[in-house]
């Protein structure tokens, strides 16, 4: 178990190094930052001076080392567009994105799992068939279109919910939350549904397929033969056996949700990291893009690590205990 965690941590470090390298390469790909920073009429001497002060005259690996060293300390430089430290910008935007992503993920699980179980247990009911067909729409409709439809219906026609922004937020230390005000809660509904729509349909179809598989197994038949109640059989025995693949997909989806938030945040003008990133791309604001890339990479790595650890919690067969084996 410990060896497994250490191995996974080392792998994670490797992944982060790779991501860091790609982020670092951005600086060189998008052109010479010196020419971006200085006015066109600057002299060659000025250029050399700036180059030296920024450490850009150093060999590539020294530059990469410095970049990594700074990145580990959370220092990604100054935003070219806003002229403020990137880490500060991201820290301001992070709560908005994480709150949105978490709400969408929880929403996806709370709706997706019961719908998956329902469609598996009541396979022949027309409601199941409607849900299944509906889920196909969810899988195939692009995110922004769903967002625009929702805005049209609930914000424009019905006028129930705001169409953009985060509403009123409350600051708790560095974290700003929208969960404490009615305005904030109302504002998160539409973007969370938009972002959670794909995970819902995915989780529902996955849970359904896994449930159907598990319901055919001998231990479910045996559980019925023992006279357990339907609830105990379906939720106690069957559902838990479907969880391992569901955890995997949900974990990957959580990463994808945070990354996909770019589109949803743009549609709803949600003041999160995704919106910041889109604006950075338009302005070729390299430090922000690089930092965003590293942060998303980091979130993916952490989520995957957590997923791997959850397997151990769910499936006893993975826990290596040699104490009790024996018998015949």
């Amino acid at each position: 178990m410990l060896a497994f965690i250490i191995r996974r941590l080392l792998q994670s470090v490797l992944v982060m190094l790779t991501v860091g390298f790609i982020a670092f390469s951005l600086f060189n790909f998008v052109g010479d930052p010196v020419s971006l920073m200085l006015p066109p009429e600057a002299t060659q001497a000025d250029r050399d001076e700036v180059r030296k002060s920024l450490g850009l005259d150093q060999p590539f690996y020294v530059q990469f080392g410095t970049f990594l060293g700074n990145a580990v300390q959370g220092n990604f430089g100054i935003s070219l567009r806003l002229g403020r430290p990137v880490s500060q910008l991201l820290a301001e935007r992070l709560p908005a994105t994480l709150e949105l992503a978490m709400t969408a993920a929880v929403f996806g699980l709370l709706v997706g799992i019961p719908m998956g179980v329902y469609t598996a247990l009541k396979r022949d009911k027309w409601t199941s068939k409607v849900l299944l067909t509906g889920s196909l729409v969810g899988v195939s409709l692009p995110n922004f279109l769903i967002g625009i439809f929702l805005i049209l219906i609930f914000a424009v026609w019905l006028g129930w919910l705001p169409s953009f922004g985060r509403g009123e937020t409350t600051a708790i230390g560095f974290w700003t939350t929208g969960f404490l005000t009615t305005e904030g809660l109302k504002a998160i509904i539409l973007p969370a549904i938009t972002l959670g729509f794909y995970p819902i349909t995915l989780i529902m179809r996955l849970v359904r397929a896994e449930m159907l598989e598990v319901l055919r197994t001998d231990y479910i038949k045996f559980a019925r033969a023992r006279g357990l109640t339907n609830n105990a059989v379906h939720f106690g025995h069957a559902l838990k056996n479907t969880l391992v693949p569901v955890i995997t997909i949900t974990g990957l989806q959580l990463g994808a949700i945070i990354a996909f938030a770019i589109i949803t945040e743009t549609v709803f003008q949600w003041p999160g990291m995704g919106l910041l990133f889109i604006q950075a791309v338009q302005f070729a604001d390299i430090p922000v893009m690089a930092a965003y890339l590293c942060l998303i990479g980091f979130i993916f790595v952490v989520v995957n690590l957590v997923v791997d650890l959850l397997y151990f919690a769910v499936d006893p067969r993975l826990r290596v205990e040699r104490s009790g084996s024996g018998g015949h």
């Binding site: 001998d218 231990y219 045996f222 838990k240 769910v314 006893p316 015949h328």
Partner: protein
């Protein structure tokens, strides 16, 4: 005669398919007395497992009981609601399935699975249920039961798991256990242990057993009576020693002739020509008639009219050879297999 614990009357199990109804169990009647072990043998597809599944109400759709009655202690159970039947399963009729490796949920400790069953059916506290689970595990011969109770199924060997499965089947003290091929998936050396254990426990608890298997050795060792099934019907039913040593139905005769006997020099084992008919092609009359070596003896009846169970020697056989008017009667029994 005492009232039977289980009585199955004219049970018929059918599967609707695209090409019409298939009758997998056809007009099966049998009884099991309290404490009795009834063996049910037959080839694959003879309908023996389905009969068991019908009795515990676990026929998988689209299979269904088309007609007939199942009575437990004189009370009809085949027409109960799903919820009523659930209360009978485990409490009054227990079940043991073929593969102990897959019968237990891998994600829960065996203790949890046993106490769960006890708590579902008996009115006891969780602590009492746990104590009872430990007692059960001791009883089925699991060493250090108080520690092993917290172990997961994968930490047990196949034989040990089947012991756990037996303890689960007995958890709520059912009066009848349907054991569907309980030893087929096990190592030969462990089969005997499990059969001995099952026999001992059922004798001690006074539990009746319907033992479904294709292994005549297991039947000979365990059962009091045996029913031989062929193409969804009972071909012969009677006391186990009679059926084995003095089989009456030509199919049973062939079946017994196909069993090798240690300590006896036999050049070739006899074999029954042909194979069991498919469910959509069961011949009229006696289902066994195309393969029967003696069908000429009683005229055309074998191919036109279906025989019901008739007294034949000390058993009952579904064969026209034993009808009242048949010329050849029990005096001229088919050659019995040497004892």
């Amino acid at each position: 005669m005492t009232t039977p614990l289980l009585e199955v009357r004219n049970l018929r199990v059918q599967f609707p398919t695209r090409r019409g109804l298939l009758t997998a169990v056809d007009d099966v009647s049998l009884t099991i007395a309290p404490g009795e072990v009834l063996g049910v043998v037959g080839e694959s597809g003879a309908g023996k497992s389905l009969t068991g599944a019908a009795i515990i109400g676990l026929l998988e759709p689209p299979g269904r009981i088309a007609s007939g009655e199942i009575l437990l202690n004189g009370r009809r159970i085949d027409n109960l609601s799903a919820e009523e039947f659930r209360k009978i399963r485990g409490r009054e009729i227990g079940a043991i399935f073929q593969d102990p490796l897959t019968s237990l949920n891998p994600l829960y400790t065996i203790g949890r699975q046993i106490t769960e069953t006890i708590l579902t059916h008996l009115n006891v506290t969780p602590d009492e249920a746990k104590q009872r689970a430990i007692d059960l595990l001791n009883e089925v011969g699991i060493p250090a039961a108080d520690k092993r109770i917290d172990h997961y199924p994968h930490q047990f060997s196949g034989g040990m798991r089947q012991r756990v499965v037996i303890s689960l089947a007995l958890a709520a003290q059912p009066k009848l256990i349907i054991a569907d091929e309980p030893t087929t998936a096990l190592d030969v050396s462990i089969q005997a242990q499990i059969i001995t254990l099952l026999k001992k426990l059922c004798r001690e608890h006074g539990t009746s057993v319907m033992l479904v298997t294709h292994d005549m050795g297991v039947i000979a060792e365990t059962a009091d009576r045996v029913a031989v099934m062929y193409a969804g019907r009972i071909a012969e039913i009677g006391p186990v020693a009679e059926v084995i040593h003095h089989p009456q139905h030509p199919y049973t005769v062939g079946l017994m002739g196909a069993i090798p006997n240690l300590g006896e020099e036999v050049e070739r084992l006899t074999q029954i020509d042909g194979s069991m008919p498919r469910l959509n092609a069961i011949p009229t009359g006696c289902a066994f008639n195309p393969r029967c070596t003696r069908k000429g003896e009683v005229g055309a009846r074998c191919t036109t009219e279906r025989p019901s169970l008739m007294n034949a020697g000390k058993t009952q056989a579904a064969c026209w050879l034993y009808s009242e008017g048949a010329a050849t009667n029990t005096t001229n029994t088919p050659q019995s297999v040497a004892a």
